[in-house]
Symmetry: C2
Subunit: 435 residues, 2 copies
């Protein structure tokens, strides 16, 4: 006798939703053979009923009314692929309250309302799974939650936005300027017409909040994350980085210190070429995890796109469907709110690029500012911009040893006050190169 199917109510049929419908059709038999579970996309809520969709489902499956799909007694499990916080949040909470497991690919929702969602799922005793909300098709949430459940994780460092990684890869490998590389990414459909969410680090920040929540077992929300984007990265920065043995990447860094406080930040950084993250090119994503016992791990793959994201959603659907059949659920636990370490107290190494007057005593004056703020200089190089003799201009590049952000900000502030400093061209953090 064929088992009765697990009936999926799908909210949203864009790239991810449509790819999920296709994948369930292609893989349904194999899934049933391996797991005994028959999956069926029973109902699909869409904004525009008239739109042609590349999915093989009867027209009767489609509706305008997402609330009706959630409440439908013929829907066993809800997949939320709408995006944004509202109305997605309401639908997800209603589904959970109705005893239906939910799988979501919505990073914004999870990064802003995880505590509420986890609480509702635990209260209802059903699954809320969100593998696809971070790093698309890359298995990351499940390995962090389950495989590394006994691990003390110190830090997770990710390239979790494919658009900015593509842009930085083009700047590095083709010598493109930021604007050119952005235009190219837009032409390929990797970047939106308004690229703000990607290039200013908001997208990475939401993912970083989710990674931190799972890795450290304490709620971190998107608003806790310090942000800097890549729009100020120049071809000169990229070239200097390459000459010094680094590559510039937009990193999401989540770390927990011995005092249990959690620091989460997104900013461009210089990564040594020998670091595994340095080899992550184009629109690929990767998350590098450092744990006490397990040492260094990296998870690499496609962080976006319909089929990879749908693959992650489907893995969660199969898990939730199996649990539903068995009458069990993965508990997320009632996690405490994380105590956030402010950016000022975060320690890093720094790369600074100054334009100064070429005059006797300048280096002495400049290095005095570093010393005053207890910032130790790891390496320095100086070059003349135009050899006009004394009175011309020179560039100085410093890489510091590890120092707190507050000390660097104070150093930058005092350097700007100096007559001999024309301008501070760049400041980039250096990540993954020891202290």
């Amino acid at each position: 006798m064929a088992p009765s199917p697990i009936r999926i109510g799908l909210l949203g049929c864009g790239n991810v939703g449509a790819a999920l419908v296709t994948l369930v059709a292609a893989q349904g038999d194999a899934i049933e053979r391996r797991t005994g579970l028959r999956l069926q996309v029973a109902r699909v809520a869409v904004r525009n009923l008239g739109k042609d969709r590349p999915v093989d489902l009867p027209q009767s499956c489609f509706t305008h009314d997402a609330a009706d799909v959630v409440a439908d007694p013929d829907v066993d499990l809800v997949v939320e692929a709408i995006g944004g916080i509202e109305p997605a949040r309401t639908f997800v909470l209603d589904a959970l309250k109705g005893g239906k497991p939910v799988v979501t690919a919505n990073k914004e929702l999870v990064a802003n309302t995880a505590a509420e969602l986890f609480g509702a799922a635990d209260a209802a005793g059903v699954d809320l799974l969100f593998e696809a909300a971070v790093a698309g098709g890359i298995p990351l949430v499940r390995p962090l939650r389950e495989s590394l459940a006994g691990e003390h994780i110190h830090r997770a460092t990710g390239i979790v936005n494919g658009t900015t990684n593509y842009i930085l890869t083009r700047m590095t490998e083709a010598g493109a300027a930021y604007g050119e590389a952005l235009a190219e990414a837009q032409g390929l459909g990797y970047a939106e017409r308004d690229p703000t969410a990607d290039v200013e680090g908001y997208d990475s920040g939401a993912k970083a909040a989710i990674i931190a929540t799972i890795a450290f077992g304490a709620h971190v929300v998107a608003g806790d994350v310090y942000h800097e984007g890549i729009s100020d990265v120049t071809p000169a920065d990229v070239a200097v980085a390459a000459r010094l043995g680094y590559v510039i990447k937009l990193l999401a860094v989540a770390e927990q210190g011995p005092d249990q406080r959690v620091a989460v930040r997104v900013h461009p950084a210089m990564v040594p070429l020998s670091h595994p993250l340095a080899t992550v090119r184009d629109s690929f994503n990767a998350v590098f995890v450092e744990g006490e016992a397990v040492g260094e791990l990296m998870f690499y793959g496609r962080g976006a796109g319909g089929p990879p994201t749908a693959s992650a959603v489907l893995g969660d659907v199969i898990d939730a469907a199996g649990n539903l059949r068995k009458g069990t659920a993965a508990t997320l636990g009632l996690l405490p709110r994380a105590t956030i370490r402010p950016m000022d107290e975060v320690r890093s190494r720094y790369y600074l690029h100054l334009e100064v007057l070429d005059r006797p005593g300048v280096l002495h004056t400049v290095s005095g500012v570093f010393a005053e703020h207890d910032v130790s200089i790891g390496s320095m190089e100086q070059e003349l911009v135009a050899d006009d003799g004394p009175g011309g201009e020179a560039r100085i590049i410093f890489i510091t040893h590890e120092a707190p952000e507050s000390a660097i900000q104070a150093t930058l502030r005092d350097l700007r006050e100096l007559d001999v400093v024309d301008r501070i061209t760049s400041m980039l953090r250096v990540v993954g190169a020891g202290t």
Copy 2:
């Protein structure tokens, strides 16, 4: 009220077992806080009761008698860290039959008796988990089984032996000969005094069998795996590879074709420098997975060592303990036996290095042999070894397009027959560079 603990019976207290005891002590409170599960290492079976061990357990926990630990009503869950097939197999089967979940780090056991073990676990309705049996601390089995449960996986290509990767890294980066690099690995404790299992590919083969079983949902055993080791790799091969933009790695490749047949092989291969696996250095491991929807994934980390392996064991213990509390278990399914595609039919690109007489018409004669066996040449270069004029010796390097192994073996056989061919210095497969 404190929950009653899940009492672990540990078989074997070597590197992995001792690291597990330490990790449970260090992480026990955090695990309880997050999962509600209290773990306790209740009994430990060891070969030598007199040996000093770096673990903080009362002497009364230790015994000679592993069977007694398995049967003890005060043991809820068994961790097998003995290694080898017998008596580990008997203890694992007895534990499962007694309704106790088992976590094992034993690749040999799983690679040779998975069908029997999975059947016993399913019959008893308890977990049999073995994340640590492949690639040590790297989460791989769980992501393949669960996160990618809806994915059609085409191929998994792994560097799954740290010893050989260390040796090849030293040959590549320090120009060491094989023997020197092996001695260095032995000095560092990375290689055994008898290194056969590592360098001849048996260890990688057992892991490849397990990866194939999970990735393709059909039983593959160690004996199904084609093996070649690294002991014939020469500094000249390494140097030529580098010049052509490749690095030599010992790869475990598991792939499934459209006819569902599974090919699993271990051999040294030339990997393009731009491939993610090329960047995996020293004793690190990584597994590169290609799936229909998800595209390319890579899992990277420490494939061996006490603490990383114990971290993977502990993740499984927490999972199994949670399931035990809930009265459920992850089913492995009754998998069919895989149909194996013989090595003769496996297709690859090939690198061949010949020493030939430097005489007119030699290239014509040699290339005729390739043509006769329908092997298409992708690129070729020839250089004189010593410029003695005609009658001296020359080297020819070929890289072929994709061809079946049978055609290459026939080509090699016929080339050896030619008077103008002095010897075939090397044959290496080229992996990850298209067709």
